[in-house]
Symmetry: C2
Subunit: 254 residues, 2 copies
């Protein structure tokens, strides 16, 4: 079935391959790109000229690199998320209340994307995860989002998830995932015990506005040794649910 690519634009794909290469290389000379992509000098040059014209690529000290246009677009998109202006405060509160990492994520297809994160006691790393992605099924916040989707959409998402394993307890069986999601719906929040990363537990809950529109999810995560027993199953869920409720109210009243 090669007609998959028949409905795509090959020239644009070439330009995008160049962007991906620059993303991975960080900074590359025209020659490096030439080799990496197996293209003629003039071709690489012409594409780079176009990428620069639109501001996606700039010249660095020793080669070409991606520009901050991506941050410009990304930052703008983030501000467009309904209620985003109130997310920061809630996450900061939650981080200092729990002294753990708190985060707000959204779903994009079968990925979770971190829009804002903060750490309680260690304020050095804020924003360290901004824009990061991961499969949606292997995190508490991700599962919380999927759990509360309308049944049909939910099934569609489950079917298209790769269910790849990223941690010791990652759910890799669709049926097992459905059971977990049902539990999450009953409880109102999601748990993740070393499903995304070894040694990390997390609690997540969805942020829902207008009764059924899920705009994202909030979660708290930290070392398994600190997030366990009563704290994991009562104290932290209460705090997370309080945060999501407050956020929902703030959004609806604005």
């Amino acid at each position: 079935m090669e007609n998959q690519s028949a409905s795509r634009v090959k020239t644009t794909e070439t330009s995008f391959e160049m962007l991906e290469a620059l993303f991975q290389e960080g900074e590359a000379t025209r020659e490096e790109l030439e080799e990496r992509l197996g293209m003629a000098t003039s071709t690489v040059h012409r594409h780079l000229a176009t990428l620069q014209e639109y501001g996606y690529v700039v010249r660095g000290p020793e080669g070409y690199r991606l520009s901050f246009k991506f941050l410009t677009f990304g930052g703008f998109l983030r501000r467009e998320v309904p209620g985003y202006s109130m997310v920061k405060q809630k996450i900061d509160d939650l981080a200092s209340q729990t002294d753990e990492r708190a985060q707000f994520i959204i779903r994009e297809g079968t990925d979770r994307v971190y829009l804002y994160t903060e750490i309680g006691d260690n304020p050095v790393q804020t924003g360290a995860h901004t824009g990061r992605r991961g499969p949606i099924h292997s995190s508490a916040a991700g599962k919380a989002i999927v759990a509360f989707l309308p049944a049909e959409e939910r099934e569609q998402v489950i079917d298209s998830i790769s269910l790849e394993q990223t941690g010791p307890n990652t759910i890799t069986d669709p049926e097992r995932l459905r059971e977990d999601l049902a539990e999450i719906r009953e409880r109102g929040y999601a748990l993740n015990r070393e499903e995304s990363t070894a040694g990390v537990h997390a609690i997540g809950a969805p942020v829902t506005v207008n009764d059924d529109e899920i705009i994202g999810a909030i979660s708290v995560s930290g070392p398994a040794t600190r997030l366990k027993s009563d704290r994991l199953e009562n104290e932290l869920p209460d705090l997370v649910l309080a945060a999501t409720n407050e956020l929902e109210l703030h959004i609806e009243h604005s």
Copy 2:
């Protein structure tokens, strides 16, 4: 001279025009894009398929929109900035010390780009400016960067700046700008009195590592009524310079 565009890739330009349109529209149907760009249904469709394949565009509830891949790329690029992991703490400190807005910017050509901002007393809006751009000559931090560039590069930048007016006192004359930059070099910091925005003053200083490599600049900005006389010319410059010095040391010792 139409041979400007002769060395560019038109198909990629078309794809990029679509991205720009989606950026401005926020979310658009295929038909809206068709009209806006004056292209055939199949063409728009083919380009959108390609943009989706590479993850730059996703389908929203009522049309197509830009994806958070831009934030993923942008967030990654930001983390690559030397010393970025220490920027947050310094900016947060500066914001709470001054109770004003503090920011870290970098230069990209003749633009300044905000990488991180924080407000002292009002923590609601953090990150509200992430990724935003403006002409480099109309801000304190921007001028601080240009002022300390090597003479040659500095002239090159001055020559390519548009010198557009964005505030009541924006410098629009190259000679006037050169004088101001010389003053900034003597003083060690830059002032901006309503040059970028009416009613806003700011103090900025460059962040330099390895003796001459300018990685960005820090500035504090606020209402002209609060940032004036001794505070503007002594107290705040001291704080800003202390912050840049500390940041420089942290970066060099890491």
